[in-house]
Amino acid sequence: MRRDFLKWCTMAGLGLAAPMAMGTAQQAHASAELPPYEGPYYIVINASGGWDTTCLMDPKGVGGINRLYQEADILTDGNHRFAPTAKHKQEGLSNEDFYARFGRELLVLNGLDYSVNNHSPCSRYMATGKLDSLAYPTFAALVAACQGPACPLSFLTFGNYSATGNLVAMSRVPYLPSLQRIANADAIEGNAAAPYHEDFAQSRIDAALAERRSARASQPLLPRSQRAESMLYAAQVNSKALSRVTPFIPKEIPRQRLAQQAEIALASFKAGVCVSANLSIGQFDSHANNDADQMKLIPELLEGIAGILQRAEEISIREKLVVIIQSEMGRTPDYNQGNGKDHWSIGSVMFLGPGIRGNRVIGATDARQFAVPLNPVSLQCESETGIRVRPEHIHEALRTFAGIHEHPHSQKFPLGIKKEEQLQGLWG
């Protein structure tokens, strides 16, 4: 029976990119047992609402930009400068502890220019590298589509802007127990010992579906139908690999917001069914009482990141895990009447993971928190001749880093960065 199934899969041309209108490709794997995706894995964490970078990686102790500390209080760790928060935080991880643990791995880029300062366009811009298009995929979706389109949970998202460019299906698994529910779909109540159909009947069903898919693929269908039928078939066939997730689902649901999302992503990475995940931690939009809010949220964010890295270590995928930490905007260099800070179009982004040389800070803001232009070749600040580093520069560099910049999917969504403006050696 298994041979029959494989034969039908071969007839259906499965395992190759299905013929998609406009180049979309979702794959159903030719084998009944989808080989696990082995990494690298990508986590993009978004501090949703706009973080105050002066409370973390771009400290300012002058000009009333920050009321929590003075210039002399600013701390360093290797090449990093950061705001002191140990005295201000209630819970979570202080900057001091975070840098002590991860500073050597951490790459920071300051002076990122989002160019606009509204949540919706900024989120889109930061997630995709393209401000003026609703069609572009997020980096997480793009890398999933390029590197593991057959994975059943190839692109996981827990919030934030998550457009896929129609390249890959977006997976939402909001609760850890949900993973259990989907692990053994052909068994009654998920009990592998009690299948709905006997194995021979199940094989016949699968073979008939493969044969039908093959027949439909050769018929003249509308592009939407062609794409939908192909994705549907792939989703069902590839979902069988989800049974591999079960051993990695922790028994207890963590309390922290980020950890709840991360456990789902990490279990899926470990099982080889996921390439990338968008994680989100919200409420950074501190228009009122900025300092209190940021001192609650930044330690929570850092604790979440530390937890992710620790858990990745425990399940032996740390060396394959790339983490990008971003926000859709920064906060103003002055306080409003409600002790809050409003939207600011200059911010920062942080990276760590294999292939990224840490203990480095690229770019800067000046004393009034304006971006200082950057020489894209030397990566030194050059006020007169440098470029304003914007999200498209970051995304171009990320695509190169992930080795997908020449993939047809990337080519379909060009970022339009001139060669001389591409950031050279960003990753070290």
């Binding site: 698994v173 989907i182 069902q236």
Partner: protein
């Protein structure tokens, strides 16, 4: 109480009269008329909603120059870029280039509007600045162009304007024949359409969650498409349609996504302190058992809260159910309340006798609230009428809670959502161009009124934000209504709509004033037509392509234009029928956009595929829709696509997750497999356990009938498969078709394999033989083979999509 009349305004009246005349014109003809104006004259590179009429040659000759302007300059450059500022009320309305937006004009005015715009462009093109056309200087950021650099010299957009300047300077040049070239054929050439029977199945499942009745199918067989409008109208009067309507409109307005307990967030402490907690004192002493009494209390509170959340969508329901003009979603001078929520507002006693069942928490009636009375006199609501100035959804506490404000946001979120929900404008898209927001903030004292980058949005947004100024409280639990102590902000554009300020006398009823302005705007009808399309397809109408260098730009532009033409046509008819929402749905269902189902040719060019990329409904069913379809086909719901599983299957929570999944992930594929296995398990043996006249899946076949016994038995099995294909998938296959053969092969192969395996149980597995009405044996594995067949069918595209 509600008023049946469309506001008595001269302008509105003229618009309505114009459109009423159009209401008597058949849909296809109307579409062709509108498109003749919009597409043939103004937008020549498109055709007529599938129509095949030739454009009038006289018109064509006289408008080649306009046609070229429209096709190249207007669509690609001016509409996309210049119109953001260069319009009445826009940032650049004091400059020499002031354009009119055809989208805000009736279609009969399109040509005139475009001609005026062309003349304005020509004037600028002919004017010189340093020996260069002023138009080209400005667009490249010269002479302190407020919009800075729009196009770099040499870019595609620039080259289009360069060519326009060349033409403007050489009026004797012969017209470009390509300007009015028509595509080779109709947009829908080569597209296979659903037949009337298939269309009815699709529409009845979509709108009422049921299969067509035999009577309806007979009427279709006899009357064809002429009877479809009447059948659709009947379907749209069924209770299930109203449920679908509420569900779909919540996907748009998301008012179910209110944070916290609605009895506190919707009904504020300041104005409803004495009434909103009524359930805590409700007398349940007649329930002797303490635990049961406690449970009854929880139930009471939950139903009260649900009723409060339901109110906005009940307003939509009420308007449609009672054939009221759909304009009332923004003008209704009432809200909907149930016996439970009425208690929260403190109006139960005045309504008690009007409810059919005062104990039904979900029976809703319209009511007009009195002006709010605060705990402090300073929080009393100003009202010239003595009543709360209701403005449909816009003034409901649910809408205001769902889209709250902050000290610095100043009601701009509400204004933005208003534009999106009621006029189809994404204001933030106006500003989707790189600038240097930080530098602007530093440079200007009031950037939102002075810096062009900011003004482009804020000149539109802030006046409407000002109309919400009486809802200036940030803690909804405490209060929603309340005026700013120092008066409204002076560092914002004054309250109003577009370029019109609200008269001081109207201030107390600002949202009503806004509602009245809104329904006069042609964008309102078009937006509602877009909402109807969303209800049916789960997608919003196409936006114009932006990338002029996209090799498929022309194809995407044509697709967008064709769809927009249909939107405009349907919108005009909507207005003509007194804003009848059912008419909108009916028109969309009968349109080629809804009927398109496949291609008739095997060889299709890449460009043509690009044109058709978004054609066809092809919608992954939502969890709610899938449950209804299972119930329609099998007679019972699966009831597992709820709560967490619904979220996993791409559902929304209206708060954090607000967009439904459109493509199946692996997780969803897994749920589909579970669903197919389990629904087949629950229903196959059960159906066989019933008398034949009550079976829905296998009405004409014996469960023990085996394949390969005789030609007659095989034919009966094939007929049973044809019936299953029809019922489960909506396909009309012949007995000797490839599809039926494939299913037959599955059925017979499973039985053959079982025989080879030997030693199989003579009955269904325990789980799949629960609840049978009579014993069903399975000596020959035929019942389980039929279950495999049904599982196979349930996993198919035709079942999981619409």
């Amino acid at each position: 109480m509600p008023d049946d009349k469309v506001p008595d305004d001269d302008e509105t009246q003229e618009w309505v009269e114009h459109t009423m005349r159009m209401a008597s014109i058949p849909m296809k003809t109307l579409c062709q008329m509108v498109c003749s104006i919009l597409l043939v004259v103004a937008l020549p590179n498109a055709c007529c909603c599938g129509g095949e009429e030739e454009p009038c040659p006289a018109v064509q000759r006289s408008t080649n120059a306009l046609a070229w302007f429209t096709k190249e300059v207007w669509i690609k450059v001016a509409q996309a870029e210049c119109l953001k500022c260069h319009k009445q009320g826009g940032e650049a309305d004091q400059t020499r280039l002031v354009l009119s937006d055809p989208a805000t004009s009736p279609s009969s005015e399109f040509q005139n509007v475009l001609q005026q715009n062309r003349e304005a462009f020509t004037t600028l093109a002919l004017e010189k600045a340093d020996d260069q056309s002023l138009l080209l200087v400005k667009v490249t950021g010269g002479l302190s162009h407020g919009g800075q650099t729009v196009y770099l010299s040499g870019s595609t957009g620039y080259r289009i304007l360069e060519e326009f300047v060349r033409r403007a300077n050489s009026p004797d040049l012969p017209d470009d024949a390509t300007a009015t070239e028509q595509p080779a054929g109709s947009f829908f050439d080569g597209v296979r359409m659903l037949d009337d029977r298939q269309l009815l199945r699709k529409a009845s499942l979509s709108l009422a969650g049921r299969l067509p009745t035999n009577r309806e199918l007979e009427r279709i067989a006899a009357g064809g498409q002429t009877v479809i409008p009447e059948i659709l109208d009947q379907i749209m009067r069924e209770e299930a349609f109203y449920e679908r309507l509420r569900e779909a409109f919540n996907d748009i307005f998301l008012t179910l996504g209110i944070d916290g307990n609605p009895d506190q967030t919707v009904l504020s402490y300041e104005h409803f302190e004495k009434t909103r907690g009524w359930y805590q004192q409700f007398d349940l002493s007649h329930i002797a058992d303490e635990k049961a009494r406690l449970q009854a209390g929880y139930k009471l509170a939950n139903e009260y809260r649900k009723a409060l959340l339901d109110e906005p969508m009940q307003l939509v329901d009420y308007i449609v159910r009672n054939n009221r003009p759909f304009t009332e979603i923004i003008t209704a001078d009432y809200i909907m309340v149930s016996p439970y929520s009425a208690r929260g507002y403190g109006v139960y006693e005045e309504l008690r006798d009007k409810f059919r069942n005062a104990d039904d928490p979900f029976e809703f009636l319209p009511v007009r609230l009195k002006a709010l009375i605060g705990r402090n006199a300073s929080e009393n609501q100003e009202s010239a009428s003595g009543f709360y100035p209701h403005a449909g959804l816009l003034s409901t506490f649910q809408y205001l809670s769902r889209y709250p404000t902050t000290e610095t946001n100043r009601n701009r979120l509400r204004a933005r959502m208003y534009y999106q929900h009621f006029l189809g404008v994404d204001v933030l898209e106006l500003a989707a161009r790189g600038s240097d927001a930080a530098a602007v903030t530093e440079k200007y004292e009031i950037p939102t009124m002075q810096a062009s980058e900011c003004v482009v949005c804020h000149k539109t947004l802030d006046p409407v934000a000002g109309l919400f100024q009486d809802y200036w409280r940030f803690d909804t639990n405490f209060s929603i209504y309340g005026r700013r102590k120092d008066g409204w902000f002076t560092d914002m554009f004054p309250a109003g709509f577009e370029s019109e300020q609200i008269p001081a006398a109207e201030r107390w009823r600002a949202l009503q004033w806004l509602g009245e302005k809104t329904i006069q705007d042609p964008r309102f009808a078009k937006t509602m037509a877009g909402h109807a399309y969303f209800v049916l397809t789960g997608r919003r109408p196409l936006s114009p392509p932006k990338d002029l260098d996209d090799p498929f730009y022309a194809a995407k532009q044509r697709a967008c234009q064709e769809q927009q033409c249909q939107v405009d046509t349907i919108a005009e008819r909507f207005a003509a029928t007194g804003f009848d929402f059912r008419q909108l749905i009916s028109d969309w269902v009968q349109s080629d956009f809804y009927r398109a189902d496949g291609l008739t040719m095997t060889e299709t060019s890449t460009e043509r595929l690009a044109e058709l990329e978004e054609t066809g409904v092809v919608r992954l069913l939502s969890p709610e829709q899938l449950e209804r379809k299972i119930a329609a086909v099998f007679g019972q719901r699966w009831d597992r696509l709820t709560e967490q599983t619904a979220m996993l299957y791409g559902g929304i929570d209206s708060m954090e997750v607000t967009e439904r999944a459109t493509d199946p992930s692996g997780a969803m594929g897994s749920i589909q497999r579970t669903m197919a296995n389990d629904v087949a398990c629950r229903n196959v043996a059960l159906d066989f356990s019933r008398p034949k006249d009550r079976r829905v899946l296998f009405p004409d076949i014996d469960p023990e009938l085996q394949p390969g016994v005789s030609a007659e038995s095989d034919a009966r099995i094939r007929r049973a498969i044809v019936h299953l294909h029809q019922r489960v998938l909506g396909r009309s296959d012949s007995e000797d078709s490839e599809e039926v053969q494939r299913t037959y092969q599955l059925f017979s192969s499973v039985i053959a394999d079982a025989i080879v395996r030997g030693q199989v149980e003579p009955q269904e597995n325990w789980h799949c033989r629960q609840g049978l009405e009579s014993p069903v044996t399975d000596q020959h594995y035929t019942v389980r083979a039929w279950r495999a067949v049904v599982t196979y069918l349930l996993r198919q595209h035709e079942f999981l999509y619409e």
